[in-house]
Each structure stands twice: as C-alpha cells, then as structure tokens.
C-alpha cells in the first residue's frame, strides 16, 4: 500500500474519512444482515413501459412549500422592480417563441379533446430541451438540480403531459427554468379556460387511478372498503352530513347532497375549519356564525367562494381597519399559526420551520428551495393586515436575529399576492391547491403532500401531486365549487376503508413489530382507515394486555401503564376528553388510539436536537403551533418519566397535536 493509500484509509475527522466510513458502515450492514442489492430490472423495465404519470415531478412536490420564484420575496429579489424588469425583458425576448409553441400545443390539445381516451403528447417546452448537449451533468432541473445553481435558461427532460381537459399546469412545472416558468405564467393568463369542468365522475376516476398507482409503487394492499351503511354513518358522525347509503359511491349524488339545504351550512363550516385549522365546533359566537352564513351564501354562486377568498386576501389596513372575515376567523389562533395558515392557503407556502431557521434542518435545502428567516417575517409583516387587522406601519413587528439583535420586519409586495390580485391563473391555482390540500387533510386526517420533516412513514410521490393537480384544476374550472372536491374525496378509493387488522385495538399487543409497521404504512399511505378514537379505563387496558399475552407473567406497574396511555385533557385537543376544562391535569384514562409501540422512524433532524424539551418544542412547531399546550407537555414529561421510548412519545405527540 502506498503512502497516499495509507492516508486514504486513515481514521480521522475529515470529510473524506467520513465518506469512507459511510461506505464501510453500509457494506458492513449489507454483509452482516445479508441484505444484498435486489434485482430491480423487471420492475424498472415494467415501469419504463408505462406512460410516465408525471405531470409534476417529485421535485416540485418537495420544492413546493417554497415556490420561491412565484411567491417568496427572496433576498436577491428584494427589489420587485428589478425582478419585474428582468421578467419583462425576458418575456419580450422569448414571448414570440413561447406563443408559437403554445399555439401548437393548443391545436394538438383541441385535436386530442375529441378523443375521450387519455391522450398524451410531449411537452413542447420540454422538447426544446432535447437540443441541449448530451451527457450534461444531470443537475439541470428540479429533481436533478437541487442546488439550483444553474436553473435559468435550461429546461428539463422531455416529459409527456396529461392532456385531459383541465387548466394548464405547465406554468408550475419545475422542469422549466425560471425564465420559462415566468414566461409560462404570463402566457397562462392569456389561455382560454375550459368553459365547463369535466364530469365529476371522471375527476374521481383520475384521482383513484393515481392513488392505486401510488399503492402499487409502495407494494401496498389496501384494506377492504366499508359497506355503504358504515360509510354513511362515518360521514354523519365525523362531519354531520346526511348522505344516503345508496349515494355513497356516486360523486354526482354526493355532490348534490352536500349542496342541499340539509348539509350546505355544515359543509361550509367544515371548509372554514379546514382552512383555519380550527375545530368545526369552535365556530360558535355570533360573528363566526355570520361569517358562515355569508360564505354559504357566496358559495351558492359559481365563483362566489373564490371571490370571498380574494376579498379576504386583497384587503389593506386602510380598506378595513378591523381586518376581514379571515382576520376574525384566525383570531383565536396564536400569531404563528395565523401566519402559517394564511400563507399556506394564500401563497401555497409551508412556513412552519422558517420562523426560526434560515436553512431547514436536513442541511440539504438549497438556495432556490429554502425560505430564510427574514423572509418569514417579511411574509408575516405583509399579511399582518389580514392576520391581525393592523399593518406593520401601525404596529411594527420585531424579531430576533440569531446574533441577538432585534430587527423590524419589512412588508413586501409578495409575488403570490400579486397573482391573486391580478386574478392570474397562477394565483387561482395556488389558491385552489391550498384549498384542496386543506380539505384532503381534514377528511382523511393524513396529508396529501408529504413533507420530509414530518414523522410520516410513506414517501411523497409524483402520483400524489397528480391527485392534487386533478382536484385543484377541477376546483378552478368549476368556479371553486367545493362540493365537487369533497364529493370526489368522499367517493374516492381512500375513503371508507377498514382499519388494518393489526391496528385493531384487540390486536395491538399481540402483533409483531413488522406487522405493526406494515399496518402503519397502510394507514399512512391512505390504503386503510385510521384506528378509531376509543377510550378505555386503565384497568381494562391492563386486562387487555394480560389477555393478549396469556401464560406470561406480567408485572405492570399501574401508574406507569396509566401514564403511558394517558391522554390530553387540554381544550382544543383533537382527542375526546372525559373531564373537559381541567386543563393541565392528566386524565386517568387509557386510549387505544395511542400507539403502544413506535410504528414509524423519526426524522433524523429530530434526533439531532440537543434536548427532550427542544424536540417537544419542535413537534409543536411542526403542528403549526408556537408552543406545546401545557397539558400535552405534562403528558410528554410523564411518558418520559415512565421510561417510554422517545420514538413512541413523539409519535403520540404528533397524533395529539
């Protein structure tokens, strides 16, 4: 071995040694666990034969929370004038070329529209990319260029797009470079929108197809669908909507039911609860009820809900000194939640982490994907008239820099806001997407968009994005008729599925770890129902454990067992409570909804935090809260004192929050 080789294999702290160590670790794991690389040839070739289902790549999904080119006032783009000037000159230079390409696309689309089958063609913008030199570095588009170092002027790989009649989403494709994206954005506004949406049945079918493909990819077998009667009961119990059993599989009938007198107000209440993150039952004061009434009236007309939403977000402090209906609706939330909720709906931004962090904790966020702390506060300042009814001119907003200095947040004219005000397609689609994701999350209690920062076992996938696209395009085309969206979700493949047997309360103590994990994956991927909320006394819980494990000597300290299964009693908790209002006290109840073993791997960033308190605090932030509620905090401490595995604690906390 020569000297340089010796050096190569010396142990040390430098980067090269760490990389070598990683190699050795992975090879050791492979050798010791006999986990050799699988033969994926058949699977890849089979998928290669399928038409690519990707209209938006996973890159978009991951970068979506930031959408920096559309909505975030970046440091290098603090001057809106400069940005506009650059965009305008770019548009002038390449506008004609785009128009020609777009016209060609429209012609083909019109031809294709006569064919009821799903027709695919090659993206004209992407076709241009075929002319780039071969074997360039793969870092040129969203997925392949996370560093975003060379985004402009280059376009992504050739990629077929879906030509089912719907609003164009080309403008949002990450496969386009920045200039192309802004160009496409502007051309979007000139595109004629389809006059009528597709049949809701077809939208539902497209959503189901994507979902089935997602399950197929994850190799997941969905659980049985519940019977129509059970689905009806579930809808009635959870949402308070009355839908006939015979209608539960027909989207058009469900849509009609939701729009009927009996359900319409309850549905609007649910929609507002989804958007604000409040519990539907919390809308109880006169002002809230008035707002529900006015939104219900507006939503009766085509485009009425969209107009109401725009009215909320286009206001300035001078227009309405007390703020808008939205200001009233989000007032019960803490300031951080207000900003997170408003930005999520209005700007399609995920701002949960950037209140405190310049760079997200994976360390992999790139310049184009990340939102910096200062930008969070700029967004907060910009939407202050909406969230608090006061502009930062009247009531300055200060924040602390990492070095301890205090700085005043500056309100900026947000590009996303401009999109909304300008009634552009980009603005409409962002708004619709925010609405769809909120509704999906509220109905399924599992998010459509999977962030890598959440303790979620199943990965994000382009097919999930496609579901979001289908539903949000339909929402735009239907003039923001949310009854259609809800009907498609309620009659879809993911709704009304049985709880995996292994997660059934009766089986949770006898199930093996791998079975339990598989069950959790089925639930996380929306292929199975969530375990029911159910309460049990501590003694029954212990009896159940003894019954599940016959013949074994069990010494269960009652205090720990109770503590480990304690449930929060804080008002506003999503879990039912026997002694409401007794905030801060542990309810001496066990509940089968709580995981008894960890079923998901906690994100690496969580394990890198310095203390238990810090990890708990971050779990609160992840749920969009500024701080962890006192009762939940006590429970977390109690579980820790009982010696519970931290993964189980965080999983439980994520369920509680």
């Amino acid at each position: 071995m020569n000297a340089s080789s010796d050096h190569d294999f010396d142990l040390g702290d430098n980067e090269r040694d760490r990389a070598d160590d990683a190699w050795l670790n992975s090879l050791l794991e492979e050798s010791l666990t006999n986990s050799a690389p699988p033969d994926l040839t058949r699977s890849i070739l089979s998928r290669l034969q399928d038409p690519p289902e990707v209209t938006l790549s996973p890159a978009r999904a991951e970068s979506r929370p930031a959408l920096p080119t559309q909505t975030v006032p970046r440091r290098e783009r603090t001057s809106a004038v400069v940005t506009l000037a650059i965009a305008a000159s770019t548009l002038l230079a390449i506008g004609l070329a785009t128009r020609a390409a777009f016209n060609a696309g429209v012609q083909e689309r019109e031809t294709a529209a006569s064919d009821p089958n799903h027709v695919e063609m090659t993206n004209t913008a992407a076709q241009r990319s075929d002319r780039r030199p071969p074997m360039t570095e793969p870092a040129e588009d969203g997925a392949d260029n996370p560093s975003g170092s060379k985004p402009s002027g280059r376009v992504g790989p050739s990629q077929p797009i879906d030509l089912t009649p719907r609003a164009p989403t080309l403008a949002l494709s990450p496969e386009l470079g920045e200039s192309e994206r802004s160009m496409a954005d502007s051309s979007d506004d000139a595109r004629p929108m389809p006059t009528a949406p597709r049949e809701i049945r077809l939208v539902g079918q497209a959503v189901d197809k994507s979902l089935q493909r997602y399950w197929q990819r994850l190799d997941i077998q969905p659980t049985q669908k519940l019977g129509a009667g059970e689905i009806t009961e579930d809808i009635q119990r959870r949402f308070g909507w009355t839908i006939k059993a015979e209608d539960t599989s027909d989207p058009a009938s469900v849509q009609a039911s939701l729009g009927g007198q009996a359900n319409h107000r309850a549905m609007i209440r649910f929609v507002l609860a989804s958007l604000t993150g409040r519990q539907p039952r919390s809308f109880e004061n006169d002002r809230d009820l008035q707002i529900i009434e006015s939104v219900a009236t507006a939503a009766r007309n085509k485009g009425g809900l969209e107009q109401w939403l725009r009215d909320q977000f286009m206001v300035t402090a001078a227009d309405k000194p007390d703020g808008t209906d939205w200001t009233t609706l989000v007032r019960p939330l803490d300031p951080h939640q207000r900003v997170v909720r408003t930005a999520s709906l209005m700007l399609s931004q995920d701002l949960r982490c950037v209140r405190c962090h310049d760079e997200l904790s994976s360390g992999q966020a790139t310049s184009d994907e990340r939102i910096e702390q200062a930008e969070y506060w700029s967004v907060a300042a910009s939407i202050a008239p909406i969230t608090s009814g006061r502009s930062v001119l009247e009531q300055p907003l200060f924040y602390d820099l990492p070095d301890g200095r205090r700085k005043s947040a500056v309100a900026l004219q947000l590009p996303g806001w401009t999109d909304l005000q300008g009634f552009s397609q980009t603005g409409r689609h962002a708004l619709a997407r925010g609405l769809v994701e909120s509704l999906w999350n509220s109905v399924h209690r599992r998010p459509l968009h999977r962030s890598a920062y959440e303790p979620m076992a199943t990965p994000h996938d382009a097919t999930l994005d496609r579901i979001g696209d289908e539903l949000s395009n339909d929402l735009v085309q239907s003039g923001f008729d949310v009854t259609r969206t809800l009907a498609a979700i309620l009659t879809g493949e993911a709704f009304g599925r049985a709880v995996p047997q292994v997660l059934d309360p009766a089986n949770r103590f006898i199930a093996g770890d791998s079975e339990l994990l598989n069950g959790a994956i089925v639930v996380d991927s929306m292929a199975g129902g969530l375990p029911p909320y159910q309460r049990q006394s501590a003694s029954r819980l212990i009896a159940q454990i003894r019954q599940s494990l016959p013949g074994q000597h069990l010494s269960l300290p009652a205090s720990n067992a109770v503590l480990a299964q304690a449930m929060p009693n804080a008002s506003g908790s999503p879990l039912p409570s026997r002694r409401r209002g007794d905030d801060g006290q542990l309810d001496k109840l066990g509940t089968v909804v709580m995981p008894s073993r960890s079923t998901s791997q906690m994100p690496a960033w969580l394990t890198r935090l310095p203390s238990f308190e810090s990890r708990a605090q971050h779990m609160a932030h992840l749920s969009g809260r500024l701080a962890i509620p006192p009762a939940v905090s006590k429970i977390a401490e109690g579980m820790r004192a009982a010696g519970l595995d931290e993964d189980v604690i965080w999983q439980r906390l994520s369920w509680m929050l």
Binding site: T33, I44, L48, P138
Partner: protein
C-alpha cells in the same frame, strides 16, 4: 451485447436498458445505501434513477464509468430533492468527495461486489469479540453502552474496539482491492 473491460471504462456499443440496469443497479443501490438510505428507500430511488435517465432522450452512453457517474449524480440529486430521512450514516455535503470515496471502494468494478466480497473475507480475520461487537451494532442496532455491557467492557472500550475493527477492515479491504486490481 457490448464488451466491457474489467475496469468498466469502455463500451464500444450502447447497452440496452436491461443490460444497463443489470450492469449498474447494484452500484447505484449501494451508493444510495452509503448516502444513508434504508433498503426500501434505496430500492425506490434506484428505480427512479434509472427511469429518469432512460427516459431522457438526450442520454448517451459514452462509457460505463461515465454512465455510472451520471447515474450516481442523478441518484444523489433525487435523494437530496426527496429530503429523505438520512438514518445514522453521516452524509458528506460534497458529491465530489463521495465520488472519490466511491472510486476507492466500488470504482474497481462499478458495483461494489468486489468490496463486499473482500469485506466478507476480512471479517474472518477479526477477533471473535470484534465480530460480535460489529454484529450487535449493525444487525441488532444495539446501543454502544449495551454492547460494552455484553462484552464486559466500558462504553469507551466498546467504541475503541469497534473503531479498531473498522480500521482493520478498511486496511484489509483496501489491500484486497488493490491486489485484485493489480492481478487483473
């Protein structure tokens, strides 16, 4: 069928998709594992990597080593984009550093098979205690203090034992790889 040198540096003819996958999938899978992916994530991203590249009409196969590098960059970017949980393996920020490491460990045959084989042989040279410690660590995910307890040594003792074992393995694997290369 194209002819490939042992070093995988030249391919006179383009490989078919099936041949290409067969040639490189093990290497890409191991590369992703080295980046910290668990086996399932490595499976998924390996598939995505090949789909991306094979669907790219501009993709040209100059040589196996160039293709391998191209695939690795795509895999790396997909991993970064997906922001998946990285597990316990420390990920270097620099793809260039990772590539250098790749060349040292798997660059000889582009798959990592030789390194894995060499490692299996080298494991036999370790003491029983060292092998036990590594098995507890990598198979059972046993925390270090418990490994120490199982072996009757302290936490630091367990750490030193595993560090020495790994250093020994590095050196042994490297010797074997160099020997293989010089023979071929």
């Amino acid at each position: 069928m194209s002819q490939v040198t042992k070093e995988g540096t030249t391919t006179p003819h383009e490989r078919s998709p099936a041949e290409l996958i067969d040639r490189h999938q093990s290497g890409i899978w191991r590369y992703l594992r080295m980046l910290g992916c668990d086996a399932s994530t490595a499976d998924d991203l390996t598939q995505e990597t090949f789909l991306r590249v094979l669907r790219r009409k501009t993709f040209v196969q100059h040589s196996d080593s160039a293709t391998s590098e191209y695939l690795r960059r795509t895999a790396y970017n997909l991993l970064v984009t997906n922001h998946r949980k990285l597990g316990r393996v420390h990920l270097s920020d620099s793809p260039a550093t990772l590539d250098q490491s790749w060349q040292r460990w798997a660059g000889k045959d582009l798959t990592g098979d030789a390194a894995t084989e060499a490692l299996r042989d080298c494991m036999e040279r370790l003491t029983e205690r060292a092998r036990t410690a590594l098995k507890l660590r990598f198979v059972d995910n046993t925390p270090r203090p418990l490994i120490g307890e199982a072996l009757g040594i302290s936490d630091h003792g367990a750490r030193n034992l595993m560090q020495r074992a790994k250093a020994q393995l590095r050196e042994c694997v490297h010797e074997k790889l160099n020997l293989t290369q010089s023979v071929s």
